[in-house]
Structures are given as C-alpha cells and as structure tokens.
Symmetry: C2
Subunit: 270 residues, 2 copies
C-alpha cells in the first residue's frame, strides 16, 4: 500500500510531484487493507451485487445488505429479480460497496469488492442473518415474509480494497474475517470538518513540527481514522501530504477528540 | 409497469392495501421504462461495472462514466485494475447506475442495469468518447494520458430498469437508444421540497379535486417528472397514491413551475 502517489502508473512524473519532508518523520500506522475493507462494509447498507446470467455474462444490480459475524454480507433476494434467479442457477457472486465520496474526484475515495459464493444460511446462521437484515433494513419487514424472498450469505473468498488513487490492495478471506472495522469511522467526517473550521492554526503547527515541513504556510485535514490524522499542507516547495500517527489506536467511537488533543499537545511542545 | 403496489409478489394482501379513488381519475402519462433508464444514466456519473474474472466469475467494481450518443456509457479503465484486465480478456460487461435514494427505504428508488459488450472506440467515436469523459470527469485529465488507461464504450444489448417496489421493466437496446432523458430531472427534488414546504394546501386541493379522493385530509408530493406529479394522500379510508398528469410533457429543464401552476389552476377551478 502506498500512501501518496501511485508509482505503478505509466505516468508523466510531474503529475505526481509533491514536496518531500525536510525533517525526519515517524512512520505512522494506517488501517490495514483488511481493516479498510471491513470499515467500508460496516459503514454501508447499499451495494451492487454482480451475478452471472444464464449465458454466463456479468449482471450487476442494486441490493441492500446487512452483515453477520466476520463481516459476511447478508442479502434478501427475490426470485422475481434477475439476480435472484442468477444466484439460484450459479451462486458465484461479488458485492461492491462504495464509501460516500468525499473529494472533488469521486474515484478518489474508498470502495471494496467482496467475491465469493452465496449460500442459503441454515439453522442458527439463518436466524442471525434474518435478525441482522431486519435490524439494518427495518423497511424490509414489509416484504421479508413474501414467499419469493430468500436470505443469502456471501461466503467471501477474496476481497479487493481501493482507497483512492494509489491506495489499493488485495485482502485474503482470512485477513478480512479477522480484521476489525474502525470504530471511529462514523465520526471521521465531522472531526475533519471541525478541525478545518476551528483549528487551522493547530493543524499548521502539526505540519510544521510533527510533519517534517517547518516551512509550511497552511494545512488542512483531509482524513482521520483510529490510527492517525491526514493533512494536506502547502509549502513554498509545493503541496505535501502529511500523516501523523496517534500514540495508540483509538478504541472508542468517540475517541478521536482526545487523540487530536494529544497530537496538538505534542505539536505545541515539539 | 404498475404504478402502485406490486401484484406479482407472493405477498400478504394487507401489506399492499391502499384506498381506491372515489371518483374517476384521468390516467396520467408516465415516463416510459426507456425514458426512466436514460434519465437515471444521464443524471449519474458513478456506477458499478460488472465484468468476468479469469475463471468466469462475476466481478463488480466502481467506475466513473460519461455518455455519448444514444446514452452509451464511456469508461476510462486502467489495465492495472482488475476490471481493465477482465475487459481485455472478455468484453462482456454490465453497468449498474443507481439514482440518489430519496425515501426511507433505499431500495425504493431508481436504478438501471445496462448489459452489453465493451468496445474500444475508434476514429471520430474515440474523439467523442474522450471529450465526453473529460467534460464529465475533469479530474481525469490528470491520468487520462497515462499509458495504462484506455477508453471503452459499452454497446448496450439490453437494459433493466427498476423504479422502486413494483415499478420495473426490461428495455430493449433500441428503446433505450431512442428515448430521451427527462430534461426536468435535476429540478425535481427541489420542486418536491418547495411544493411540500410552501404549497401543502394546493396539494390537498389537487388530491381532492383531481385525484379522486374528495375526502383527503392531507397530501404530500413524493415525486415529479416531465409528465406529472405524484402525491401521497391521507384519507379516512387509508393512504393512497395519486398521479396527476400535466397537460403536456414539460420540454425545458425549468418548466416544472409553470406546469404545477397550471395544475393548481385546474384544481382550484375543478
């Protein structure tokens, strides 16, 4: 996983040039690709299901989903829908979940594809799947009991995470199953907005003193997660991305504030 | 296309019960399924592309798209991406475009699947495809010139439109190609909000005098398009959907206001 520019594209070099840090910077932990995938899947409720038509062609359709243990997606599918008939014929499927796009280019944001085989859950698994689906999609109570609808669980064989340009990786089924969704994900957009609206001075200090750009003239938060804070900073040498790690991963949904206060303290004393 | 409840589900009847009109109501034109499909595709810019993996499994991934003549989607795809390698191996593809969800159940909103074969455009078509893509996705200028990216045009063989529960239909390639996107689509959400915020009294009059529910006690706009206005109305006999047609299809993006004023005039004099 590269964190800034994508070196694999056959690209004009100047398109990707950013200012290098002038001082050594601690490498900050990031979410693993498996954590990224689990986080996107946990945050979403709509996805595109890809199935196979009768003649083996690819068919995409919009579905709602819930998740049960290990981030496995649960679908409620009608045999009146083409994808329902497709699954009954060939249960191979993939589910593409996109995070809400944030930046000016909608492709520069997170999404994940989970590929595997859809199975009708049985026994306790069926009850768990049904409960999870009804909890996530309350409106589905109106049709979940219809005779043509049935529950499916996608048993994941591999996953592919794309975080935006130059941030992507494949994820094994085991890594996906054992990773933890970021508990702070829901609070992240609000935290970024708050930092930019009310604490631009502190962000600049962070970029100067912790981010390796002592000549930075401004800084904006562009992302935050349980492991750290991402900034874009402007310097006389050009723009630069800055990644600042927290002292440890935030464990609680409301823990970002405390972690940022600690980062600000380090910047002020740094 | 049915406009209210879906009669094909194997459903408890009471789940779908609505109040019938007490007076005869003119049948109001709706967008055809092909017009619905063209309208959703014209409004969007992000979609999920379904392609086939090496072993023939379905693979979904997020893409941005533009359109050229007859609503054909244009993609800019990297061979570094799995979907890019998939298309080079087997050009069968489908593109699933979802409209912004509006109601309480995200599945009760529009989406369309376009299925066909992706082709590398040539000659004038290639120039048109490139211009359309760069116009729709200006940020792509930064990578469109990269050597690993290439343009594809999806040649559509069939389309499937789903408008929400009980509104769905298949669309032939010819019907899709020759239909016109609704020019008022961008203004619709704002118009619905304005009608509900400022003209609840007129909406009630429309439901009572034009919609066949003289005993209606309240009414809310739930949708609007070039052909007419959709209401939900409350009556002592239960809720009811009401569809009111305009005198003719609105031809201009800013024509909804005039059409609603005319509808209000008919309700007041009706």
């Amino acid at each position: 996983v590269t964190t800034t520019a994508q070196p694999n594209h056959d690209a004009p070099a100047e398109a990707l040039r950013v200012a290098e840090p002038l001082a050594p910077v601690e490498t900050a932990q990031r979410r693993t690709p498996a954590e990224e995938a689990r986080t996107i899947v946990a945050a979403g409720s709509l996805a595109t299901l890809s199935t196979l038509t009768r003649d083996g062609g690819p068919w995409g359709s919009l579905v709602a989903y819930a998740t049960i243990g290990e981030g496995r997606p649960v679908l409620l599918v009608s045999t009146l829908a083409e994808h329902g008939r497709n699954l009954h014929r060939d249960p191979r499927a993939s589910l593409c979940v996109a995070a809400d796009p944030a930046g000016r280019d909608p492709l520069d944001s997170g999404r994940v594809t989970l590929a595997g085989v859809a199975r009708r859950p049985e026994g306790d698994d069926a009850a768990r799947a049904r409960d999870a689906y009804l909890a996530a999609l309350p409106a589905s109570r109106e049709y979940a009991a219809f005779g043509d609808f049935s529950l499916w669980v996608l048993e994941i064989e591999r996953a592919r995470w794309v975080g935006g340009f130059g941030r992507m990786d494949s994820v094994t089924a085991e890594a996906y199953a054992t990773a933890t969704p970021d508990p702070t994900a829901r609070a992240a957009a609000g935290a970024v907005r708050h930092l930019n609206d009310d604490h631009a001075d502190v962000l600049l200090l962070m970029a100067q003193r912790l981010g390796g750009h002592p000549d930075a003239t401004s800084a904006r938060a562009r992302g935050i997660d349980r492991h750290g804070l991402d900034l874009w900073t402007a310097t006389p040498r050009g723009p630069a991305p800055v990644r600042l790690g927290f002292t440890g991963p935030v464990q609680r949904p409301d823990g970002l504030r405390e972690a940022c206060v600690e980062l600000a303290r380090r910047a002020r004393s740094g």
